[in-house]
Amino acid sequence: MTPSILYIACVVGAIGLYLIMRPHRKATRIVGTIAGAGAVAFIMVKVLEGLAADAAVPILEVVFGLAAIAGAARMVTHPRPVFAAIYFVVVVVSSAGMFLLMDAEFMAFSLIIVYAGAILITYLFVLMLAQDATSTAGEALYDRIPREPLAALVVGFVLLAVLSDAFLLVDGGVRPDAPGMTPSLSSVEEDRWMVLDGLPIQLEETVAEILATDSTAAAEFTIERIDGRAIRFDGTHASVDVKIADESRNLVLPVSAMPTNAQLVGWSLVATFPVSLEVAGVILLMAMFGAVVLARRQIDLGEDELRVAAGMTPLLEDEESEFAGGSS
């Protein structure tokens, strides 16, 4: 695939989206949908073509991706806001599926809960709150007619062209199999085991479980730490030194004891980004305050009225008398 093909596909996609936007005829919408979907599909095919022959085809990703794109396209073109919001749910669900495929289970479900469950509902509430009664008769004019679609499309698809160019074509695109792009698995595993090292209770439970399968061992044990670290990873196996009744034993930890993805995320959140986490909390809090203040009915009070309301005496205007007298 050369950049020119990609760019032409982008143009086609843009034309497709433009046709979908036009509210007049169903036919144009269909043509647009075909063009857009075709362009996307064409690029995807081209991407997959470039793979090694023996590589597996990511069917599910393609499916979820197409669903998300379709939902997005419909969302930005649908003349009725509520429907647009519903199509956004499609996008959210499809992306959640892609998250799942990329081992981000926790994020997939929080996405659905937060977006589909909370944010979208808020949007819907506001939509219904703000939609005037006449809109039941039909879509509002401003919902039906897009604003300067050509300029927006040019901008948007230039962006798309260069982004996808960067992702797919420049230096062969994003290539995990290129040397140095992905970390060695042992280091990834070591990192993960070290997370367990930071979770002493879970480590103890794991050790207890292993020891429980071993009837010879006593129930009482202590985990030995050297330089504060209990787990030692030799490149393939993680093991723990455990002292049971003054006798040291080296326990190899099973792979199943490795922290889960969700645990990893949690660990990263509190261990690596604690300040950002706090800031995020503050942002949410302030957003809440802000929403409360904004939604309140606004009354302007003068300074004196505020002082009176706060139980203070109002300002007096008799202050010019101090230095004024006494000239000869």
């Binding site: 300002l315 202050e319 010019e320 008398s321 230095f323 004024a324 007298g325 006494g326 000239s327 000869s328």
Partner: protein, 539 residues
């Protein structure tokens, strides 16, 4: 550390003003400015170089530096030499007077006003004590902000235009200055391998640049500084800003802000680009002389007092610039003295006009006049300050004007002073007509305003909060200034002595440069010059 405290006191006072309530704002501001004054006085007493043989900063800026980005050589360094300390003193002495002068004039948004005033004070002091380009430039530009707000919020009817013009004009100019300074710093980094923004490093380095580069640097720096000075024809922001500003603003603009430009000339241009200065000095001098005569003539036809005094600043600053580029100790010391004496005299005049304005709400000479009968005390101070401005011997204006002019006069190629110059009698002679014109317009103003039958605006009625003549508060604001004008006129030598080592240090490279400049001059011109002088001598 002492200097940091000096800068911090007004800022801390700002907090006090901010939280002290609308009623107490001015009292707190007065207290703060008095504390600043006291602290500055302490510094002045500690300052070890008043009578020094050698020029030096105090405290040594390196000891006082606060590294910001060590990799880029950016460090905040503070230090004073006698010139900058004198200018700091000018500022801190005028500050309480400004507060007292605005005591009842500012009726609304007082806290904000005094905060801006104090911030302005900090900024200008920052400029004077900064020993590195970064903080110099930062303070230099930061001083625009309080000035802008004082002008835009508390100014006269044209305050919008005035504030915008003030800000944008001076700001655009300073950008060129930044460019010039950045170029010097960059070249320094290129050639020595180390980034440094310390003024001492750059001034030591810059003269090694080629003459062409120096010329461009001079132009860039002049673009910023000449606007501030202001030098003809870059002066037009000044009458507008002075005219529209509230009293304290006008005082500060005239007394301190204008000095930033001259101080910049002294601290950057003279030491950094000596070759270019020698080449360009006649051009600058021509502009200064034009400014002197031009502004003086314009003054004479003004009917608005504040505008008149504002134009007179343009005229007066011309003398100071002349003295500075006369390139001899006479002119340089005169110029430094001019900064101080103009600050006090013109600042005081603006205060006086402010007091009159509070009573009559007009600055129009056609509407108000003959106040000597009604306001004798005011007239007394006004006349003293007018004569200080006119340059009456015994008051401060004379010493500075005289030294600047004699410096210019003796800035001849073959001066026996050891400091040959590129100006000469003609410049001084034409500039000296400014003395006559100065007397003309200032006495015209005095005659209209103080003397003649009493004229008051038709709708004038006595204010209830202000007495007919000056109150004790107003006297307290004016008396120190008038007294200083007198003291400076009678005892200028302590200041002159303090500036001597500075002058010699700054002017050190010039005699040789001027001589080589004349050697390179057109051979025929040189020959005719020689023959003329020999003729004169043999007669």
């Amino acid at each position: 550390m002492q200097l940091w405290i000096l800068l911090l006191i007004p800022l801390v006072t700002c907090i006090g003003v901010g939280f002290g309530g609308e009623r107490n704002a001015r009292a707190i501001a007065l207290g703060g400015s008095l504390v600043t004054l006291a602290w500055a006085a302490v510094l002045a007493m500690q300052f070890p170089h008043w009578q020094a043989e050698q020029w030096a900063y105090w405290p040594a800026p390196e000891d006082n530096a606060f590294p910001v980005l060590p990799g880029l050589g950016i460090a905040l360094e503070l230090g004073v030499d006698s010139v900058s300390l004198l200018l700091v003193l000018l500022n801190v002495i005028l500050m309480p007077c400004c507060v007292l002068g605005s005591w009842v004039a500012i009726k609304e948004r007082r806290r904000e006003f005094y905060i801006w005033l104090l911030v302005l004070s900090t900024c200008v002091m920052g400029v004077f004590v900064a020993r590195d380009v970064i903080s110099f430039y930062t303070f230099f530009e930061a001083s625009l902000v309080p000035g802008f707000f004082m002008l835009a919020i508390y100014g006269g009817p044209d305050r919008r235009e005035a504030s915008f013009k003030f800000f944008i004009y001076t700001f655009v100019g300073s950008l060129f200055m930044l460019l010039g300074l950045a170029y010097v710093a960059w070249q320094h980094a290129q050639q020595t391998g180390d980034w440094s923004f310390a003024i001492s490093d750059l001034t030591a380095f810059a003269p090694t640049l080629s003459a062409g580069e120096q010329g461009w640097i001079l132009l860039a720096l002049m673009a910023g500084l000449a606007v501030k000075v202001p030098l003809f024809p870059l002066h037009t922001w000044l009458p507008l800003a002075h005219n529209q500003a509230p009293t304290a603003g006008s005082v500060n603009f005239a007394a301190v802000i204008l000095k930033l430009g001259l101080y910049g000339l002294y601290v950057f241009i003279l030491p950094m680009v000596p070759e270019a200065v020698v080449t360009w000095a006649p051009t600058i001098a021509v502009l200064a002389v034009i400014g002197i005569v031009y502004a003086a003539l314009i003054c004479w036809v003004q009917t608005d007092v504040k505008k008149l005094i504002a134009y007179s600043s343009v005229s007066h600053m011309g003398f100071a610039v002349l003295g500075l580029i006369a390139l001899n100790p006479l002119g340089l010391q005169g110029s430094v003295f001019y900064m101080l004496s103009h600050g006090f005299a013109t600042g005081g005049l603006f205060l006086c006009i402010g007091m009159m304005y509070e009573r009559y709400h007009t600055k129009d000479l056609r509407e108000v006049g003959g106040l000597a009968f009604k306001m004798p005390v005011w007239s007394f101070f006004f006349i003293v300050l007018v004569f200080a401005s006119v340059g009456l011997p015994g008051l401060n204006g004379f010493v500075s004007e005289f030294l600047c002019l004699i410096g210019t006069f003796t800035a001849v190629p073959d001066a026996k002073t050891g400091y040959p110059g590129v100006l000469g009698p003609w410049f001084a002679a034409i500039a000296a007509t400014g003395m006559i014109l100065g007397a003309m317009y200032l006495l015209y103003m005095t005659g209209k305003l103080c003397f003649g039958p009493l004229r008051e605006p038709a709708d004038h009625h006595e204010s209830e909060e202000l007495p007919k003549d000056l109150s004790l508060r107003e006297i307290a604001a004016l008396a120190p200034i008038a007294l200083i004008c007198l003291i400076f006129g009678v005892m200028p030598w302590p200041i002159l002595h303090a500036v001597e080592p500075v002058a010699e240090e700054v002017l050190k490279p010039y005699p040789a440069l001027v001589e080589s400049h004349f050697e390179q001059m057109d051979a025929t011109a040189k020959v005719s010059l020689l023959s003329d002088t020999t003729l004169e001598g043999s007669r």
